[in-house]
Symmetry: C2
Subunit: 266 residues, 2 copies
């Protein structure tokens, strides 16, 4: 069986520079593309994860939620970030459902515990059971409790990478991970998209990687590439593609020529 984990970036489905502003027309097109993918390959299982974009990153920055909570003010901030990311997730869920995709919103707050900002424990049974029932688990970057600092943020990238490993170790699936953002891929020093990143060329690539321009509390492109490189070493191909280009997501998921960056073991 095949399993595709699709990240719809916060930068793609929201206007990252305008607080609490979604891009519903982009969500609708992506929903149609995912529906098309499902019709083309009915045996493909899907997990969708969305970034927080201008819904979660603003409040997460305001309350510095990634660094934990002590005061009642920071605790309330943690809860407000959860509410913000759920709000965006439900907007997206509504559009996916309207397209006929059987998605179920599953907040990562219910699945994971961190310690000092690192994932400590996870329980993905709700994702696994939903997949087994032929539903499409819809996850997102969320707040999670943290045994050392109270709470923190678990990014969509980290979560999807963890889910990819979890399902890989079951030996049931051929897995790919597609990250659709509003950038054409990973760029080199000259702004040209690097079509393939492997362990052997990563040292060259690394120097060119900075942080993204907008507010992103969870680490930007460098962290993303490193997380994807780590799971590509397990045999999971990861694509970083421009989700603004029509059918780019379709091409990547269905294994056809795709413009963007492929992160692969060799």
């Amino acid at each position: 069986m095949e399993l595709a984990l699709i990240k719809l970036g916060g930068s793609l489905i929201t206007d990252k520079d305008k607080p609490y502003t979604a891009r519903p027309e982009v969500m609708q097109r992506l929903a149609r593309e995912i529906n098309y993918i499902r019709n083309q390959n009915p045996n493909l299982k899907l997990i969708i994860g969305n970034g927080a974009g201008s819904f979660g990153h603003q409040s997460a920055k305001k309350y510095n939620t990634i660094e934990g909570f002590i005061s009642p003010y920071e605790k309330l901030g943690f809860c407000l970030v959860h509410q913000d990311v759920l709000d965006l997730n439900l907007l997206l869920a509504k559009i996916l459902l309207q397209t006929g995709l059987p998605v179920v919103s599953l907040p990562p707050l219910t699945m994971a515990i961190a310690k000092n900002k690192k994932l400590l424990e996870s329980n993905f049974s709700s994702v696994e059971n939903s997949l087994a029932a032929d539903l499409i688990p819809l996850v997102f970057g969320d707040v999670v409790l943290d045994k050392a600092i109270g709470g923190t943020i678990l990014s969509t990238d980290t979560l999807l990478a963890e889910l990819a490993k979890y399902f890989l170790f079951q030996n049931k699936y051929k897995i790919i991970l597609i990250n659709a953002g509003d950038y054409p891929g990973v760029r080199d020093r000259n702004g040209k998209v690097i079509s393939l990143i492997t362990k052997s060329n990563y040292s060259e690539v690394e120097a060119a990687l900075g942080l993204s321009h907008s507010v992103d509390v969870t680490g930007g492109m460098k962290k993303k590439v490193e997380e994807f490189l780590a799971i590509s070493s397990l045999g999971i191909d990861c694509w970083i593609i421009d989700g603004n280009i029509s059918d780019n997501l379709v091409q990547a998921v269905l294994g056809k020529p795709t413009s963007g960056t492929l992160i692969r073991e060799f």
Copy 2:
């Protein structure tokens, strides 16, 4: 330590006869009352659960979600009910947060599995960890997967009764459960509120219990009373009160004279 599980009935926080119509002014007053309770008794832990009212029961009836899913249409229905109940829950969460209450929405779909409409497995660690972090878990009546029939509905009443038992068995808490609805309590044949129900007078009470007038897929007053009677036998006092009466919730939670029905072991 004390733990109060508070159910805000769907009939109280929505107009049950008008689809997808919330009663925000009622939610706001209840939020202020809960905030007042918390200030009066800072050592009291709270779990809040809300009914689905006219958000979830309409779609649950349309797709007959309580009876499971086989077809893609019923599966999509299951997902739509999840979306509907989340929508109402987030409206309520927003109001509770605005009042300063650190609530976190935790969908029961992530915590429980049923078999033939009976709860089979549950994992309440996200509720427990949130409580331990001094947050207020906010749960609700939700769809859950079902090992025999695909999916079904887990009512807020059943969920709160299960949570009450779960925390009781930890021997850390004195627990009460308050059900605030838009009815004055449990009525006898003549419409008079029965102030106390115990095992000894339940046979008389039973005959008077019918189903509620509005759409309620999860069983109405009789099932509610029976579930509460079962947990009252473990030593958990359960109140059924009219949440429309100002300060009735405050009185019940703080152990002061309350109009309504008390369900108690003896």
